[in-house]
């Protein structure tokens, strides 16, 4: 169910990016898609009642010196969070560029409406 909602969010973003005529709304649509994917990555690593994947003394069996099975079964997968952090930084970079191009385009054309920004065709 959460996955379906996440996919719905992705589709809303895609719809917004493809259908809307306003440049800023298109950018918002793209960002909604980006966040949907980030949410999906976080959900991959989510575990109900999981614990942080940090090994300390309580997680090591004093007799054998091995990591206890409970920790292995409960620990959250840390990798998706690292991926999401990287993805957020990348999307920040592309968002900054997109917005600055929107601003420059507005200075040139005086509008955000992509149906009026049409010098290129053919």
């Amino acid at each position: 169910m959460p996955y379906a909602l996440c996919f719905l969010l992705f589709m809303i973003g895609l719809y917004c990016a493809v259908v809307k005529k306003n440049m800023v709304k298109i950018v918002i649509g793209i960002m909604v898609m980006e966040y949907a994917v980030n949410l999906f990555l976080i959900m991959l690593g989510y575990r109900t009642g999981g614990e942080a994947p940090i090994i300390d003394k309580t997680n090591i069996d004093p007799q054998t010196g091995q990591i206890i099975a409970g920790f292995v079964n409960n620990a959250v997968d840390p990798l998706p969070q690292a991926l999401v952090l990287t993805a957020i930084v990348i999307s920040l970079g592309s968002l900054a560029l997109m917005i600055s191009i929107c601003i420059r385009t507005y200075e040139k054309y005086g509008t955000f409406d992509i149906t009026e920004i049409r010098r290129l065709k053919g």
Binding site: F10, E34, S94, T105, G122
Partner: protein, 504 residues
């Protein structure tokens, strides 16, 4: 001598961040520095030909850490990237004097090169995405570099479609991680082999095809290319058409399809269908264009079709278990066309830049008779046109010949007919370029036109020589065995990739 792999990413990346420090006064130093970096990369890429290896970053063993993989296909692409970027950088030394903020241009250019080198070397799906974004974001900025009406519009269009493509790729990477528990291509591929394709992975594969298809501008996803490539400064058009769409699109698609998911007959036919649409639609749309760079951009779509066609025919033959010799011939044709197209299309864009710089227009109807005024541009443009049309002994002839032979051997005669037909359309469009730009009456306004010599001419002549000599890659057995065959073998071995990387 083996070249440490991170150097290919570190050299352009470090140079890119040093260059803006030179500021306005150190423009000449910055230019020299950037050229030095691209030439050094060219030397390193040439040294790494015929080698293979896995580099584990920070000595973390591969399922845990990030790795870089060099194999035949990567080194072929590295060579193409470094040849085109060295020529384009040399061309920019003079050409980019027209623009302000040259140091920023050089640094974006090198960031793009770093991203592309990273894509071809990465052995890890998420890293592939990161490098893909580095190269793409740099290219969005470069397309809009002129900051005029058309450039901003093209850049926005490119950026919207490019970002959607990147997000699709990221979504697919997440799905692969969720289903296989690994981001490393070799381990993900091993997991897919043992579990088979479940619906989640199938969805991931289709997202990969759409995402990389958007980057490669295959026909249903091509809308951004004819705007973006002409709007960029000429050396950047050369880089975008010459190598960017191939590394971010074709290479990444082929790597994921052949080496991670494995080929199937349906997938092969899907690639063939995309390729044929691109070839035919690109060629028809190109013939009607009057903007010289726009014509070349549409012709890029059509030529990308050839590359994908060869690889698609190869994929169907492998999946059917037909004669491997013909499968490898088809793939050889596709990959050779990839390298050839990188060289002659970048040369064509450089000549168009030279024409635009001299005449101040891209409109072919306003030109004419430039053959006498611009002899070097004219000669190199003719060589490149002959190569793209496929006149022997120029480079395009060999790859098209191989593709036709492979299609006939696969009993796909209609495909061979389409290849020849699209070649004829290509002939028409480049005759149009020759006729309207270089022959005919010299208009009044262009009487004083002068060609720029120096670095621009050197870059064009260098690529023109390559256009003539590329045929040797096929004819000379030792060159072929060192450069092309290892690349073909990577695709033929398919899922054997994972075992090879894990054991290396």
């Amino acid at each position: 001598m083996s070249v440490p792999l991170p150097v290919f990413i570190a050299v352009p990346l470090v140079t890119a961040f040093i260059l803006p420090a030179f500021g306005r006064k150190g423009k000449a130093v910055a230019t020299a520095w950037a050229n030095l970096a691209t030439v050094a990369l060219l030397v390193l890429a040439a040294l790494s030909v015929g080698q293979s290896g896995v580099y584990e970053i920070g000595k973390w063993p591969i399922p845990l850490g990030i790795n870089l993989v060099l194999d035949g296909l990567s080194s072929l692409l590295l060579l193409a990237i470094s040849v085109v970027s060295a020529a384009a950088m040399l061309f920019s030394a003079r050409y980019m004097e027209q623009y302000t903020a040259k140091a920023k241009y050089l640094s974006l250019f090198l960031l793009m090169v770093a991203g592309m080198n990273g894509v071809v070397l990465s052995g890890d799906l998420f890293n592939l995405f990161v490098f893909l974004e580095i190269a793409s974001i740099a290219s969005y900025a470069l397309v809009g570099f002129g900051c005029e009406h058309e450039e901003l519009e093209a850049s926005f269009k490119y950026m919207v479609l490019g970002s959607i493509g990147s997000i699709f790729v990221l979504f697919a990477v997440a799905l692969v991680y969720g289903n296989t528990g690994s981001l490393n291509m070799a381990y993900a591929s091993k997991a897919i082999q043992s579990s088979g394709l479940n619906p989640g992975l199938g969805f991931a594969l289709s997202l990969f095809i759409v995402g990389f298809g958007l980057k490669a501008a295959l026909v249903p996803f091509h809308a951004w290319l004819p705007d973006a490539h002409p709007s960029a400064p000429a050396p950047i058009s050369a880089m975008l058409s010459g190598v960017l769409i191939k590394t971010l699109g074709i290479y990444a698609l082929v790597r994921v399809v052949f080496n991670v998911f494995g080929v199937s007959v349906q997938l092969g036919w899907l690639l063939i269908a995309l390729a044929l649409f691109s070839m035919v639609a690109g060629a028809f749309l190109a013939i009607g264009q009057w903007d010289i760079k726009r014509l070349m951009a549409y012709s890029s779509i059509s030529q990308i079709g050839y590359v994908v066609l060869g690889i698609g025919v190869g994929a169907t033959l492998i999946a059917k278990g037909a004669n491997m010799a013909w499968a490898s011939l088809a793939i050889l044709g596709g990959l050779l066309h990839l390298v050839n197209h990188a060289v002659y299309k970048s040369l064509l864009f450089l000549t168009s830049g030279s024409v635009q710089m001299a005449t101040g227009t891209r409109e072919m109807r306003k030109m004419g008779g430039l053959a006498e005024r611009m002899p070097i541009t004219r000669t190199t443009c003719t060589v490149a046109s002959a190569a793209i049309v496929g006149i022997p002994p120029f480079s395009g002839f060999w790859s098209k010949l191989i593709l036709v032979i492979a299609a006939v051997q696969a009993h796909l005669y209609w495909i061979a007919a389409i290849i020849v037909f699209v070649s004829l359309c290509t002939l028409i469009m480049y005759l149009k370029v020759q006729r309207y730009v270089f022959l005919g009456e010299l208009p009044e306004a262009l009487q004083e036109t002068k060609e720029h010599h120096g670095s621009m001419a050197v870059a064009m002549v260098f690529l023109a020589c390559l256009c003539v000599l590329m045929g040797l890659l096929v004819i000379v057995p030792s060159l072929r065995a060192n450069i092309l065959d290892p690349a073909v073998n990577v695709l033929i071995e398919g899922l054997g990739y994972s075992a090879r990387v894990i054991n290396m």
